[in-house]
């Protein structure tokens, strides 16, 4: 008995020592239809690694019928019902069928935003696009994108961060792009075929269900093995980079089969159609959600500013995660390999990437097994909720940043003894990308006077925890402090007053002097006193120097007169304090009260703040030409940019 049991044990040892599938150096199975290769069916288990069982070290998830999120993964039908519920029950959600799969299933895109296409100030809104479920076996991704959907809708009236996003950005989501493949993978939650080192079909299906012989779908039965290796890799089918750099295959059985021609697959066309909901011209962000690896894999077109913005954005988003993601850009100018991220990076000039969510290594990151590297596609049920929240945090921060940089748009100073308004000014929209400053009141502030300063911005600048305290957004530095606020008197030496230390962000409505303007924490207030000892004998100009960063570490638009927008892969009209256009911004010095020895004095001529008045350092000499006629065009661009600050700066104000 013991010998027989031993024999059975030997025969049932984990995996055949000599596997029937032949895998080449590129990872391709070269004999997919051979007996003992394609017709082998594996079963994922918690603990049993015998025979054709593959142990994970945790229970393999089975899809759950639930519309609301669970500690696990919802079946496609429930996800779809949830999406349709959010669409039907909320005015802020629109949706449409953007395509049909080969099996005739609808592919839906949803857009979350208010009814108009303008920001709360009236400027054109930007848009963001996120794709999920493009690879069938990556179950994390429909859940993560659905979490974004659910959270935006749930917070739409929060008077703060979420309401701001809904009212000032259009968010387009495709929660499940490869509907056919995803349904197939869910139909076989514990089974895969072929080889432990490269499992295919069932739970491990990656591609869509395109049958290359009939141009219809393959069947849904994984025991009919002749079609188990077929399908098109939807992340190799876009035209940008199609067939290039050995990044895809022309073999129909390959994991990275690119299809017969670019954009041949309905799912890829559906995603491109979804982009039109932005609308396309307003897109500023694209992310294709995948698993696994914890990477931001970004194409890099030949656009320096775009690439720098993409990197900075990714790094802020990575910081918002509780896990160690990395930024992995392509070499600059390489054309891509036909991914959807290539399509949007090159075609739309917007920050774009393949976002590989967790885990980093595989199931062993959660106390499970490596399972030949593939356990990373099978996230344990117990990790699903945390994963959703972690990816959500990253996406929301990215949306917030790409909605546009902050601008200081209103200021008020009141005498705290008399409650009289001494200074009141606000920037209001005056054109499609312009604001005009209206100064409603400008009375003299006198030494010895006590005042309350109130400043408002065009977006919520902070968030709060459940206890109501201002906290940093995960991984970002701006906390409760309001940052640099300086009452400058440029014509006086050594008498500027730092005000930021006592400032507080405002989370009650009502506007100046104690409430926010439109959204919680879009304004702060600080009480201050002008020292008796300020040496003024006549009306003297002052400037409010504002050096805030928003919660995603973006600096202020230094010139609110021109509203920031996006174009050609970079920010437009995002100036620093000197009025120079760029992608970093700076400080704001647009609010200019004055002080005088006596109340009732007339305002003097305005003065620039110190930072705007200081000449920039001399530009470095241009690099030498590389020889030959014409030299390097990039040198000329650098030279032009170097001269721009001098040409455009007079009295700290940007030239019209």
């Amino acid at each position: 008995m013991r010998h027989a049991a031993s024999l059975v044990f030997l025969l049932g040892a984990a995996g055949p020592a000599s596997a029937a599938c032949v895998i080449d150096a590129n990872g391709e199975i070269t004999n997919p239809f051979a007996n003992g290769c394609g017709n082998v069916i594996f079963t994922y288990t918690e603990n049993d690694n015998l025979g054709n069982n593959i142990a994970l070290g945790y229970p393999p998830p089975v899809p759950v019928a639930s519309m609301t999120a669970v500690a696990g993964f919802r079946e496609y039908g429930s996800l779809f019902a949830q999406h349709q519920s959010l669409l039907t029950l909320n005015d802020e959600v629109d949706g449409e069928v953007v395509g049909h799969t080969l099996a005739g299933r609808d592919i839906w895109a949803y857009d979350i935003g208010d009814a108009d296409s303008t920001t709360a100030e009236g400027f054109p809104e930007g848009a963001v696009l996120v794709n999920g479920g493009i690879h069938a076996r990556e179950w994390q991704t429909p859940e993560a994108v659905t979490a974004v959907f659910e959270t935006l809708v749930a917070g739409k009236s929060d008077q703060g961060f979420f309401q701001y996003l809904v009212e000032n950005l259009n968010t387009v989501l495709v929660p499940v792009n490869n509907v056919d493949g995803f349904i197939q993978a869910q139909a076989y939650p514990v089974n895969a075929t072929a080889d432990r080192q490269q499992p295919r079909e069932g739970r491990m299906r990656r591609k869509n269900l395109h049958n290359p012989v009939t141009d219809d779908t393959i069947d849904a039965d994984i025991t009919t093995v002749a079609d188990n290796f077929w399908g098109v890799d939807l992340n190799r089918n876009s035209s940008q980079g199609y067939g290039q750099q050995n990044g895809s295959s022309s073999s129909v059985t390959s994991l990275i089969y690119r299809g017969t021609e670019p954009n041949s697959e309905p799912e890829v066309l559906a995603l491109q159609q979804a982009a039109t909901l932005g609308p396309a011209a307003r897109l500023r962000f694209y992310s294709d959600t995948h698993s696994f690896g914890q990477d931001y894999l970004a194409p890099r077109p030949d656009n320096t500013r775009l690439n720098a913005i993409t990197q900075a954005l990714a790094q802020r988003m990575i910081a918002a995660s509780g896990r160690s993601y990395v930024y992995g850009p392509d070499p600059v100018g390489t054309p891509g390999i036909g991914t959807t991220a290539d399509h949007f990076a090159f075609g739309f000039e917007i920050p774009s990437w393949t976002l590989e969510v967790e885990p980093e290594n595989g199931g062993q990151d959660y106390g499970g097994l490596a399972t030949h590297g593939h356990s990373g596609f099978i996230l344990p049920d117990a990790e699903a909720a945390r994963m959703r929240n972690d990816v959500l945090r990253q996406y929301l921060l990215g949306f917030y940043r790409q909605s546009g940089p902050p601008a200081a748009i209103a200021a008020e100073i009141r005498d705290t003894d008399s409650n009289a308004v001494m200074y009141r000014a606000h920037w209001d929209r005056s054109g499609s990308n312009a604001r005009v400053l209206t100064v409603e009141a400008n009375e003299a502030l006198v030494p010895g006077g006590s005042y309350r300063l109130w400043i408002a911005f065009n977006k919520p600048m902070r968030i709060r925890n459940s206890g109501g305290s201002v906290v940093s957004y995960a991984g970002q530095s701006p906390g409760a402090a309001v940052g640099t606020v300086r009452f400058e008197m440029p014509s006086l030496t050594g008498q500027d007053i730092e005000l930021g230390g006592g400032g507080t962000w405002l989370n009650v409505p009502g506007g100046a002097p104690n409430g926010y303007l439109r959204y919680t924490d879009d304004a702060f207030a600080v009480n201050f006193r002008l020292p008796d000892t300020i040496d003024v004998t006549a009306a003297t100009p002052a400037v409010l120097f504002l050096g805030q960063q928003d919660l995603a570490q973006m600096a202020l638009d230094g010139d609110p007169a021109s509203a920031v927008d996006w174009g050609s892969g970079a920010w437009l009209r995002y100036e620093n304090v000197e009025g120079d256009d760029g992608d970093i911004g700076g400080a704001d010095c647009s609010f200019k009260p004055f002080i005088a020895p006596d109340a009732g004095s007339a305002p003097p001529a305005e003065a620039p703040c110190r930072e705007a008045a200081t000449p920039p350092p001399p530009s470095p000499p241009p690099p030498p030409n590389r020889g030959g006629g014409g030299g390097d065009g990039s040198s000329l661009v650098l030279l032009l940019l170097a001269f721009l600050p001098i040409a455009r700066r007079i009295n700290g104000r940007r030239l019209p």
């Binding site: 031993s6 044990f9 030997l10 040892a13 995996g15 020592a17 000599s18 596997a19 895998i23 150096a25 590129n26 990872g27 603990n47 690694n49 015998l50 142990a55 070290g57 759950v64 019928a65 639930s66 519309m67 609301t68 669970v70 500690a71 429930s78 019902a81 949830q82 349709q84 519920s85 039907t88 029950l89 005015d91 949706g95 449409e96 609808d106 690879h135 080192q197 490269q198 992340n235 990044g247 994991l255 696994f292 690896g293 990477d295 894999l297 990395v326 992995g328 991914t339 590989e356 980093e360 290594n361 595989g362 062993q364 106390g367 097994l369 490596a370 030949h372 590297g373 990373g376 049920d381």
Partner: protein, 375 residues
């Protein structure tokens, strides 16, 4: 311990901690990895390990693995592959003290062989094998097996200590392998042994102790409505979710509906319960009525609508359509429209067309309906 075993074990011990791999990490292509493990040397070593495992010789097997972990004559791929396979074999045989010690040392081993698993991972490689993770799996497997054996004996003796022990371990760590072992013992136990555990499990669950999995096993085996009720009132989300389809299978229709009604009150499982009630409602009028009534409860209304839609029955579609025509509020209209939208029955489409023609509803709702009908 025989002389041979002692010799191997002594040699393994003198090598000290087994955690440091002999090779630096490197990324290997799949073909190379496959060739390495198929070569005769690796195959021969694998056969030796299998033979030791077949004989239940845990100490020798573990000692052999520790030697492999330091064998510089092996390629890294062969080394890691053999460790992984040998450790999996160890998980299936009874451990010895020496084997536990060796596996504990192997548990801190870091991966050295990486591969590119997914073509979209760029330059990011993932471990092809992770012997340290497998060693930790082995330790958990042994702990689970030990717990199962102890619990089996207690169950056979009519003792309830396993219930107390389960509750205690669940508080400390809900992924503790002891919990799995005790649950396995319950799963495999005959009914008469489980009957003696029912009072203890019910009492513990009612007091808020985390004996969820044990309760579900008993609830299913005894088709116990009271125990299902306790589960839905007290258990954690994973067990509550797992219990939903089990309740439908195990209980009669009336009892199942009562149990699922309790589950529907949970914020974390209410939607799942409503969808399951929808399955029951295929044949149970009381379940259908429950769903219609639930449309008035904001927390579960959307799930109730979806559940009604999933019944896909012309009589239900007509009933929903009738209510839609008489709806007084936009919220009510939207829920009923959602139910029809998710209803694959042709009658549902007819009802939506009737609604569209009525001109009722907000502009947004009318737009959505027109869009659906146009597909």
């Amino acid at each position: 311990m025989t002389g041979g075993i002692a010799r191997y074990f002594a040699l393994a011990c003198t090598l000290g901690l087994a955690s440091v791999p002999a090779h630096a990490t490197h990324v290997v292509d799949p073909a190379t990895a496959r060739q390495t493990i198929e070569n005769p040397i690796a195959a021969a070593r694998d056969a030796e390990l299998s033979a030791l495992a077949a004989g239940g010789r845990a100490t020798e097997l573990a000692a052999r693995l520790e030697l492999i972990a330091h064998d510089a004559t092996l390629t890294d791929v062969a080394q890691e592959w053999l460790l992984d396979r040998g450790l999996h074999s160890l998980a299936r045989i009874a451990p010895t003290r020496e084997a536990r010690a060796i596996v504990a040392r192997l548990a801190s081993r870091v991966p050295v062989v990486y591969t590119r698993v997914d073509p979209d991972h760029g330059d990011r490689a993932t471990p092809l094998y992770d012997a340290g993770a497998t060693a930790r799996f082995v330790l958990r497997s042994w702990e689970r097996n030990d717990a199962r054996g102890t619990a089996q004996a207690e169950l056979a003796a009519g003792l309830t200590q396993a219930v107390d022990r389960y509750a205690q371990h669940a508080v400390e760590d809900d992924r503790d392998p002891v919990l799995d072992g005790i649950a396995e013992a319950f799963r495999n136990a005959p009914m008469r042994e489980l009957a003696a555990q029912r009072p203890a499990v019910s009492s513990a669950l009612a007091q808020g102790q985390r004996v969820d999995a044990l309760a579900l096993i008993l609830a299913e085996r005894f088709a116990d409505p009271a125990l299902f009720g306790l589960i839905f009132d007290n258990a954690g989300q994973p067990t509550a979710l797992a219990a939903i389809p089990v309740a439908t299978r195990a209980l009669d229709a009336s009892s199942a509906l009562a149990a699922l009604t309790r589950a529907s009150r949970r914020p974390d499982a209410g939607s799942a319960a409503m969808l399951e009630i929808g399955r029951v409602a295929q044949s149970d009028p009381a379940a259908r009525q429950f769903l219609f009534d639930a449309l008035a409860e904001p927390r579960i209304a959307a799930s109730a609508a979806a559940a009604l839609g999933r019944i896909s029955d012309s009589a239900v579609s007509a009933d929903v359509g009738q209510r839609l025509s008489q709806a007084h509020s936009e919220d009510e209209r939207r829920l009923l429209v959602l139910a029809l939208r998710l209803d694959a029955n042709p009658g549902a489409r007819d009802e939506l067309e009737r609604f569209a023609a009525s001109g009722a509803g907000s502009p947004k709702l009318r737009k959505d309906v027109r869009q659906w009908l146009a597909q």
